[in-house]
Structure formats: structure tokens, C-alpha cells
Symmetry: C2
Subunit: 144 residues, 2 copies
Amino acid sequence: MKKSVKKSKLSWEEIAEFCETLTEAEDALTREMVSRISDKWSLWTMSVVADIDEPMRFSRIMEHVEGISQKSLTKTLRGLERDGLITRKVFAEVPPRVEYTITALGSEMLDNVAPLWLWTAKSVQRFQACRAAFDDRGVQPARK
Amino acid sequence: MKKSVKKSKLSWEEIAEFCETLTEAEDALTREMVSRISDKWSLWTMSVVADIDEPMRFSRIMEHVEGISQKSLTKTLRGLERDGLITRKVFAEVPPRVEYTITALGSEMLDNVAPLWLWTAKSVQRFQACRAAFDDRGVQPARK
DNA sequence: CCGTATCCAAGCCGATACTG
DNA sequence: CAGTATCGGCTTGGATACGG
């Protein structure tokens, strides 16, 4: 189960080094983009749009992203569009039709998130064990 | 310039497939753990604790994680401890001393986050360009 | 030194109602 | 169909004060 550590593994220090070459605005945007990953809906929405190989309509996306409200989906899609992760195409028809498509940049982001997600999913029992041990020790969890 | 796409590249569908083998609780915890990554302070705190090669005291961490409040740092550290990402050792001294250390699990998580962070940082100009283009389009004109 | 307790402001997000 | 508008509960996190 345990993989051998690759020599080419990136160290966090290398990241920090690279990030220091960024302007303050660029650094802030980097954090903001990473934030998308844990955004309640963004990643799920992206993966839904990406999974189907053709443009998707608003209502169809909403069916697949279970539990999202219309308002949140609109907001999520606008944000993704603004950052170039999906495209939005409006057709001047009645009734209106709007189609969303994943962009190359969006696919790239999904590809980069995937390994992390998989590692996390595969490590989940370890996290559960740590939590159980912590809670058994009877330590008070930090209050808000 | 562009790297050739590896065949072994993970697809999002494979992730979904694996995640379906998880219980609901495990799936929820996976999301929660991924959320840490974009948590305002967690990752920064972890990287600070990890960067220095010796146990760090509370006050020292607070110096390095610029802008964090005492309350937020306490909460962040407790959460990281609970999930097994750092350890917390209290010394029965006066004045009190508490030392924090990164765990193997914590290092592993940082290693898995690193590539994504680096990709994001290196892609930041593209995101900026997309935003600028979007904002320049302004409010969508009805015609065009 | 290392926290906890309390207050409060801001933002997220669901529910609901309405529009072109 | 694909939004926009409004409300209100809930969470987040900073400031401040206090405790062991």
C-alpha cells in the first residue's frame, strides 16, 4: 500500500521560493484559486460540466449537482466563467438556452486536483483513527 | 513547452469511482479534509510548523503566520492536532511551554498539496487574463 | 505563555418569490 | 428556462478581556 517516495518530489520550500517571485496580487489570486477547491460547489460543478462530453444547460447541471440552489449555482457558474474555467454561451431563443462547457484551463485544474483528492480519500481511515484517538483522550475540541 | 499527457493521468471519473466505495461518513470526511487546504490558516500554519526542523512554540508560530489572531491560531492548531497532522506537547513548567511538531501524515499532506499549489501559482497570469477579459466584457449587452 | 470567553460584524447559502 | 431580489439563519473570524 505504501508507495516509494519519488526523488522528484516537490518540497514545500520550493513552492515558497517560487511564490516569492510573485507579486502580492498574484500571490493573493493564487490563494483565491486554491480556495475554489474546497468551495462547497465549485469543484463539483466543474466535474459535472467536464464529465459530460457536450455543452450542458443550466437545468441539467442543477440536476447533477444535487442539493445546490438556483442562486448558488448561478453564482458558482459566474465565478468559474470569470476565472476562465468554464465558458457560458447564451442562445437568443425562447425559451432561453444557456450552455456551459469546461475550458482547457478548467480541465487542467481538475487534473491537478485529482491526485490530491485521491490521496485524501485513500487516507481517510487514517484521519478517522486520529480523530477517534484524539477524542478518546478526552481533549476538549477548540471552541468557536 | 506543453508536456505530453501521460496515459496514467488520473481522470476525475476514476476518483468518483473510488469515492463510491467509501461510506457516507468517509466521503464527508474526505471533503472536510480537502477543505483544510483552502482554510484560511491551516495550510499556512502547517507549512510553518513543517519548515522549521524542530518543535515550535505557540508564540513562535504566531510570529510566522502573520495576521492570525490568538483565537484562530488556537482553533487551527487544535483541528490539525485532532486530525493527526501535527502533535502538541505540553510541558508542565512556569511559564507554560507548548511545542508543536508536524507529523508524518501532515508532511504527506503537504507533499500532496504542493504540486497543485505550484501549478496554481504558475497559472496565475492566465487566471488574471481571464478575469480581465471577463470584466472588460462588462455587463452582457443584449445584442452583439 | 498559552490559552478561554464573549461580543460582534461580515459573508455564505437555502428558501421563496418574482421576471424576461 | 434561466436567472434576479430579498430575507434570515448559520458560520467564520477579529477584537477584547480575562484565567491558569
